[in-house]
Symmetry: C2
Subunit: 557 residues, 2 copies
């Protein structure tokens, strides 16, 4: 089979105007970035906001393993398949981050015959949204330290600042640094550091904002540090939010591209799925829902992190509610959860599959707790044996879940038609359950974490040392107690221990640190080591990325 970039390059793309037309977006509402990418302008978005919403389908997954699950691929394949069976469907994805493309990860625009294109542009600078977010974030950083430097009012103590800087680059050297060296004209010595841009609160704010006004208001509320009286300082104190909104104005317009089959895809925003909520922008989802009959979207990592945050953060804030969910699994990944080593995955092992099914079963139960009906979409690999396939289908049936084999990676939308029919059946049937979030706004913050830990992670309890508890008290006293909680923990386990595969029980969730994202409007509970600035591997992917003699990109995957 061809590589992703070869498949993507061989595709004949429609002019982006033709893709937009399918959704009824007129040409003058498009801001073109070349022939195959456009932003949809703010005026048009405002003009459709009172239309009724289409149906929303959330694609989520089992607990990720190195074997790969194919969540983005399934989102793309399902979107194409829904179009093939006669639905006017659009998809909504996160934008890939540029930095990780040069490390281990490669691109993030789907794979095989279920990709969004133009793949190279989407994976690299795209329409510059992340660059705009980097600029806005770092303008605030510079203005904060400049405020301290000049001794402006209100007086700010440089040691009580928590706002860092960001770059869209995997650069471990910038994690912990001492800035402002070199004497009085060069600032003041300050312990500092950079995160990757997707970890910026500006990214989370960007993705949760309804419009430009909401964006600026949220930026104004972001907490940058504290006074010596433990009062929170916000970005507004240094006069930055106006200029930040100016830098983000064009970026906030959602990007429209197409799938390999020429169907509309909104690719906009991309916050981390640990310290942030991990879904594409609210503006993209809301706009797509006004233009399409069905919108398929995804949430980061497995359902314990991604789907939970989608429901409890994004849906809670916006009034969105998924009409159906797809839980993506692979036989290989479930065998890994069942104890098989990566190198043995190609050998048939129905016993391990039965053991590892416990992971999928728990995610199925969890999604049902939100009142959302789910279908299991199984990405079929060539190494899956017929015995394994029938074992898994039988296990799903016994668990009361619909499950469908999918081959969209190799076949495009055609390979996800069976899944599309199942999803469509849910969308067309009278709704059997009412969507609900997991906890009410008024629940105390630590109880919210405990609820997620109990209901979703199946933990025996949570623990937090007195420092964390004191911080929670401080947040609640300042009026932030009603915010939802965003748990940052490993994506590789239901627990906080990445080595605990499958469906661990009896574990205790340790809350190591608690942070306030007052602009994004959630409280982050950090449970375990969360890396907010990746490093490069010994041989970075970048070493093999270059232009060929015709000026075409090779080595980007």
């Amino acid at each position: 089979m061809l590589s992703d970039i070869e498949i993507a390059r061989a595709a004949t793309m429609k002019p982006i105007g033709a893709v937009a037309e399918r959704l009824g977006i007129p040409g003058d509402a498009l801001v073109p970035y070349g022939k195959h990418i456009a932003k949809i302008d703010h005026a048009f978005i405002r003009s459709v906001q009172d239309r009724p919403r289409g149906k929303l389908v959330l694609v989520t997954a089992i607990t990720p393993t190195p074997a790969g699950e194919g969540k983005t691929t399934t989102t793309v394949g399902l979107g194409d398949a829904l179009n093939r069976i006669g639905r006017k469907a659009a998809i909504c994805l996160r934008e890939p981050s540029l930095g990780p493309c040069f490390g281990v990860k490669g691109g993030a625009a789907g794979g095989g015959y279920s990709q969004v294109v133009p793949m190279e542009e989407i994976n690299l600078h795209f329409t510059g949204d992340f660059h705009a977010i980097t600029s806005a974030h770092n303008l605030l950083s510079a203005m904060i330290d400049n405020h301290v430097y000049w001794g402006n009012e209100p007086k700010i103590d440089g040691r009580r600042l928590t706002w860092r800087r960001v770059l869209d680059m995997n650069d471990r050297m910038l994690r912990n640094q001492l800035n402002g060296l070199g004497g009085t004209t060069n600032g003041f010595p300050k312990e500092d550091g950079f995160d990757i841009t997707v970890a910026s609160e500006v990214m989370a704010v960007f993705c949760l904002s309804k419009d430009l006004k909401d964006l600026e208001a949220r930026l104004s509320r972001m907490v940058i540090g504290e006074t010596d009286k433990k009062e929170f300082l916000t970005a507004a104190a240094v006069g930055a939010p106006g200029a930040m909104a100016v830098l983000l104005k064009d970026a906030l317009q959602p990007n429209l591209v197409q799938t390999l089959e020429g169907n509309p895809a909104f690719v906009h925003g991309g916050p981390f799925a640990n310290i942030a909520h991990g879904c594409n922008s609210v503006i993209a989802t809301e706009t797509a829902l006004r233009l399409a009959d069905v919108v398929v979207t995804e949430a980061g990592f497995g359902a314990d992190l991604g789907a939970e945050k989608f429901m409890d953060i994004k849906c809670r804030m916006t009034g969105l509610a998924p009409d159906a969910a797809v839980i993506v699994a692979t036989i290989r990944a479930l065998k890994m959860h069942g104890g098989v080593a990566k190198e043995d995955l190609s050998k048939e092992n129905t016993a391990a599959l039965e053991v590892g099914f416990a992971n999928l079963a728990r995610h199925i139960e969890n999604v049902a707790k939100f009142g959302v009906e789910a279908v299991v979409g199984i990405n079929r690999f060539a190494s899956d044996t017929d015995a394994e396939v029938s074992t898994l289908l039988a296990l799903c049936e016994r668990a009361g879940a619909k499950a469908v084999m999918c081959t969209h990676f190799a076949e495009g939308g055609k390979g996800a038609e069976a899944l599309a029919h199942e999803v469509a059946a849910i969308l067309d049937a009278p709704r059997r359950a009412q969507f609900r979030t997991l906890y009410p706004d008024e629940m105390p913050l630590l109880d919210k974490v405990a609820t997620i830990a109990r209901e979703i992670y199946r933990a025996a309890g949570v623990e937090a040392d007195p420092k964390v508890k004191a911080k929670v008290k401080q947040f609640e006293a300042a009026g932030y107690g009603r915010l939802p909680v965003c748990v940052a923990k490993t994506q590789s386990s239901f627990s906080a221990d990445p080595a605990a595969k499958n469906a661990p029980t009896g574990h205790v969730l340790p809350i190591r640190e608690i942070r306030l994202s007052a602009g994004a409007e959630f409280v982050v509970a950090i449970c375990g080591d969360i890396m907010t600035m990746p490093g490069l591997p010994k041989v970075p992917a970048a070493v093999n990325i270059r232009l060929d003699s015709d000026g075409r990109i090779v080595g980007l995957s």
Copy 2:
């Protein structure tokens, strides 16, 4: 009079396709970024490269003062005026840097009725070129330190690295920093720092590259540090140039916009004019010359820095040669050179004007040394008295220079028609002198600096301590002796002392440090304090930049 942003916003812009048509650029050669900005694609640029070049006009200026000269404004006004008198003219400008827009400086797209538009986009993210340069630069930074971190071959000693990082932001805190703190998983402690993106060697390389191949070759040759045997390490050693070229591929396509009068303007690249050569990209200039009969371009700072580098670096490397030059001056600035304080500039003072004329006279003589005929373009201010105007015109005549009063700031191209006629007369006349650079390639490096100091700065000599001389020897031994020299000194004086206004003599040029830009292909002689990362003022311009209730940008100037 309206503000720049008000004038720019009130303009009715042509679709960018219509602007391109005037230069014979077909629609399918354009990569649109919205309706009023486009990049011109690599294939079209290759297709016109064998056409004969049009005429090239360089706009330069007297030694800058806080009174302002209006070099960009004159470039725009002259371009419009040449079109008005029937020439097919295009202009070539540098792209503004985003960071300084939020500090003191404001935008850099001309002013009054001589601007390039859309002003807001050009001053902010534009087509993302500087973001691409920032990414490419910092990818190399991350790959270098990652190479050291993993102990890859060839072994590199982290203490012998000279390559820093960049951001397009005024942020003094990042000038000097200690990175890689926090233990073994977080890198290794390293003295480090950030420059502003326009100071990146990647920017200089970008602006001097003929095409993508040349770009990658130059990136490969950039020196990043030394071995313990004092051999130079290049970017190629860590395998970065291919991926850097990938990041810069689209950015290298020149940007086409328009003047307020709808004439074509190439705005592309923008290196510093002190530690780099300070002109827009070679690709933009070369492309414009193939498409227009006359191309008007500018060089940074006064003629001592900007014009000298334009001739000795850009023209030397490319075979370009200006067919005429314009030296921009104002009566107010010459009065400042003559000793008048800024607050007294509105009072008539012909005596001070006569004294300060020495600055202009010297620049006139200097430009003639390159074999280029020049016209003096005087930007008229409302406060200039008739007596001052006739004094200056008489002084110019006595010095053998043509001088023309210009009012394009207030009147657009009409106000520069007289200047356009003088320039056209030079272009149409048989060439009286042969273009020449100031020194031959084979002259030793320190002699090159001494030649510039003697011929252009009128210094009594140069001085360099043994450390600098040893470095020069090392460069020459490694084969870099044939490179031209890029002097980095204050733009406010012919000397290295910013307080020495007008036409100082007897000064000695102190070479404090010498650096190699092996990819850009020049050696930088640093003479005085050169700031490569600006800071923000006590009240940054950003504080007043915001969106109004209609979502329009206010406060950007």
